[in-house]
Subunit: 362 residues, 2 copies
């Protein structure tokens, strides 16, 4: 029986959902893969809780969050990592933060043989470190949450297909907004409805700026072998320029209607051609460029047929040339994002599970 | 550097495409995964060619097919398997046949520690043998060819999601036929056009019987944990009963127009409700039932929006409850099917690649 030690940083909605899923599946995975998943360390931005693996493993479904808050020691990431890589098993650090600084540590963790799994979109700087060595950096949930996006792209690349173009509706928020927005409905009222439904960030400008989509496009571009940086992207912000510097979200929402006529004009122009507007991220591998823009699509296009807040990612390749390979579905939410993270942990668990020869000896 | 020995049975269109892809990607995978993929044995239904691994590995892109035909020894599957599991590496047997009998050997191969990868839809009887031991049976390409269908379903199941329903358009041939068939067009002329385009089997009744779709539905049902057998399925054959026993395809095609009125009536009835006909496989996990039937879908349904000969598989689960997770795209063809097989080989390659501690020592 192998053991995979999991260290979780970031016990927010996704982290908590992940711990619950891990706890529920531990017995099944022990039987199925012959590997024991063990949560051995948790940390938030200030504190950490390290379990004595042999004497008293952290209770996966227990009171770990309360213990972290009450008994946690001050955060010490090097000590956290040493604990996860304790001898007698394999270790994986799961970064469920949206932090800018935690990814700075990935390279040293990977270098010391620890696997890293994250939904954090800021991970791409560490990608180089994951090449060559045995430790892996997996970030399926950073694009499309639980949808099989990066794993699909990796299989296309590694089996030698030539990806020519990736087009995606990569934000559930902006998917909802443009699936709902149509001629006759003020754009600002659609944004207000999305905000009321909790689909947007507290300040909707964070969604409308397109930067979240842009980060995902960078991840997709790099997975195609391009060296795209965020600064290289053409990103069309949907925040009107005069509203970008306003201090608060309320002020922004109050003044957004001033720009409804402009957006109505664009929607009308699209409708006049029988199309609809969609906010789309594109990686054009042939030209090596990437962009995030609002575009018009004809009614029979897969993007035009999207509903609700679904994501949709279309891969056009040498093998999928006439019609693309498409993955579609909800691309946000704690449970599906945690499942995407869990899927990556499973990839690693399978790679450290007993091998046939060893299984025979067990 | 690890070595993964590949033994290929079935050097047809898919097998040849696979060997070409393997040959092209071997250097990349050696650098990326630290593992050397080596084709060490090939066989057709009569002959086999075993390479001396150390002295003269089979040339992946070379004249192996000619040598198989000219110099091959009589087929001896036990000797073939022993050769693939030669010491000093890991072995995988790739069954690219559509044979009923080759899958009978999977259980003993798996028992001896050999991995098995196949697009052969008749593999499901061996699934039980793959449980528990370290050797794995992977068959991604048996459903949807290169589309990520079974890997997606496996991740849903293993991360603890509850699959409630799978609905799929699982035949490229029948997808094309019903995406093209509409009121005013005789059904028989659509079938004739599909036949002329090479989309159908030489005898289109093989497609229209629904048995190919039924086999895929059984695979999906079993991956959900059901114990569905082919005999349990309700399968609506699209071959009119009086034409089932006709000896030849030509006779069948000549008499199919007699039944155009019947199909036109169904298409008209669907159109009267604003819908279209689609031939759909369904696994209803809650009730434990599965079926393959011709149904009407409203115009805004994902099935109704399908074009060309695409497959589409929709997973409705506890986590994907409001809108399903959808995978869509071409689900047939030698290159994409071979890529699906190759993806499975990569899964296995990653699991036998050097581990972090070993990589550090290398």
């Amino acid at each position: 029986m192998g053991r995979l030690c999991v260290g979780l940083i970031g016990p927010g909605l996704i982290g908590k959902s992940l711990v619950q899923q891990l706890g529920q599946q531990t017995p099944y995975l022990r039987d199925k893969l012959g590997i024991h998943l063990s949560l051995v360390a948790v940390a938030n931005s200030k504190r950490q809780l390290l379990a004595d693996v042999d004497a008293a493993p952290l209770q996966l479904a227990g009171d770990w969050l309360e213990r972290l808050q009450l008994q946690g020691a001050p955060l010490d990431l090097p000590a956290f990592a040493r604990h996860v890589s304790a001898p007698g098993g394999w270790g994986v650090i799961v970064d469920c933060t949206a932090s800018d600084s935690v990814p700075d540590h990935y390279e040293s963790w990977l270098g010391s043989g620890l696997h890293v799994v994250t939904p954090n979109k800021k991970y791409s700087a560490a990608l180089r470190a994951a090449r060559g060595g045995g430790a892996r950096l997996l970030a399926e949930a950073s694009v499309g949450a639980g949808l099989p996006v990066l794993s699909t792209l990796r299989d296309l690349v590694e089996t030698g297909d030539q990806v020519t173009r990736i087009e995606g509706i990569l934000s559930g928020t902006l998917s909802y907004i443009f699936n709902t927005f149509r001629p006759g409905t003020p754009f600002s009222s659609v944004v207000a409805a999305a905000k009321d439904l909790g689909y947007t960030e507290p300040d909707p400008r964070e969604d409308l700026s397109g930067m979240d989509v842009a980060r995902k496009v960078v991840i997709l571009a790099r997975a195609c072998g391009l060296s795209t940086e965020l600064e290289d992207l053409r990103v069309e912000s949907l925040v009107p320029e005069p509203l970008q510097a306003l201090p608060g979200a309320d002020e922004f929402m109050a003044r957004l209607p001033e720009f409804d006529a402009e957006m109505a004009q664009r929607a009308d122009a699209a409708a006049a051609e029988g199309g609809v507007l969609r906010y789309v991220g594109v990686v054009d591998v042939a030209s090596g460029t990437a962009s995030v823009t609002l575009q018009s699509f004809p009614a029979d296009h897969a993007f035009a047929q999207l509903q609700g807040s679904d994501n949709l990612i279309a891969f056009t390749t040498q093998r999928y040339a006439a019609t693309p390979l498409i993955v579609r579905g909800p691309g946000a939410g704690a449970a599906v994002t945690a499942a995407g993270v869990f899927g990556d942990i499973l990839q690693i668990a399978r790679s450290v599970a007993p091998r046939p020869a060893e299984a025979g000896k067990a």
